[in-house]
């Protein structure tokens, strides 16, 4: 096992290529949003007031902190501080779960008010509201789906660090996992103002 072939650069390049396809995927959705918003300015403006700005702000800050903790885990693994690395990955996962719990209550409140795709109440509000909430649920839902995958990815990273498969001289996989997590954060940075703050 003295000379195992490894290509960290190729590994990172592959991860970045995947991230770029994700940026294009969400970019397409942002364009859809921009066009419909342009066509229904007033309806989007009013519908946006239904969203809970404090919860959105708290969730944004939670995601930012989780992004910082996973970034710091790259430093700690390079310094050979295994315990700290495990703690940082675990905190990231816990923050991600808190984000999803908040999201659950947020969506739950919307459902209670009859604001969900296909509800009679939403249909009665008009085309602009249907589009706003359709995009809201689809885009934040797709983002939440990425969070769930991110939790699974980070769970594997935690396990790999624990069994020493990821070590101070071999941590590219952890860096790739962290890149994915930052992508999730990056998308939310744009979702938050576009849906919560345009009221």
């Amino acid at each position: 096992m003295s000379n195992v072939h490894r290509d960290d650069f190729g590994s990172k390049l592959g991860m970045w290529l995947f991230i770029l396809t994700e940026l294009l995927l969400f970019g397409g959705l942002f364009i859809t949003y921009a066009v419909y918003r342009y066509l229904h300015v007033d309806a989007f403006h009013l519908a946006s007031q239904e969203l809970d700005v404090p919860i959105g702000t708290i969730n944004t800050i939670i995601l930012l902190i989780s992004s910082a903790t996973i970034a710091m885990s790259i430093t700690s693994i390079q310094q050979g501080r295994k315990k700290l690395t495990l703690w940082l990955i675990a905190s990231t996962i816990i923050l991600a779960v808190i984000f999803l719990v908040n999201k659950y209550f947020e969506w739950g409140a919307k459902f209670e008010h009859g604001l969900f795709p296909g509800s009679d109440y939403l249909d009665s509000l008009g085309y602009g509201d249907v589009l706003f909430f359709g995009l809201y649920f689809f885009m934040t839902g797709l983002h939440a789906f990425h969070i769930i995958i991110g939790i699974a990815v980070l769970g594997f990273m935690f396990y790999y660090v624990k069994i020493d498969r990821l070590k101070p001289d071999n941590f590219q996989l952890l860096e790739n996992g962290a890149l994915y997590w930052h992508l999730v954060d990056l998308i939310w940075i744009f979702l938050f103002p576009l849906f919560y703050l345009i009221a």
Binding site: R6, D7, D8, F9, G10, K12, L13, W16, L17, L20, L23, L24, G27, F30, I31, A34, V35, Y38, L39, V53, T57, T60, I61, L64, I65, S67, A68, A71, M72, I74, T75, Q78, Q79, E175, A178, L179, H182, D185, L186, I189, F190, F192, P193, L194, L197, I198, A199
Partner: protein, 94 residues
């Protein structure tokens, strides 16, 4: 390429960036709540742009990585900007 030297970012840098990101978040909420009417959305998006630049450069290490990564990300962002611009032109001058 396995012998690449890795840049170790100090914890302080990450914490400083986190502080900046949180301040910018609160600022964008404050601006839109005070209501600068049509400028508020633009300001919030501008702040989001600044925030994402910090995430890309520091958290995602683009600043310390090989140039190819910066070029790739730059090209994709340019592509998105061009497509958004053309789409908006189409809607404004149809």
């Amino acid at each position: 390429m396995t012998e690449e030297k890795h840049h170790i970012t100090p914890y302080k840098t990450y914490l400083a960036v986190l502080g900046i990101l949180i301040v910018l978040t609160i600022l964008s909420v404050a601006i839109t709540q005070i209501d600068l009417s049509r400028w508020a959305t633009g300001a919030a998006l501008l702040l989001a742009g600044i925030k994402s630049t910090f995430v890309l450069l520091i958290f995602m290490h683009l600043r310390f990585d090989q140039k190819i990564f910066k070029v790739m990300v730059g090209l994709i962002i340019a592509l998105l900007v061009v497509v958004i611009f053309i789409t908006m032109l189409d809607f404004l001058f149809r």
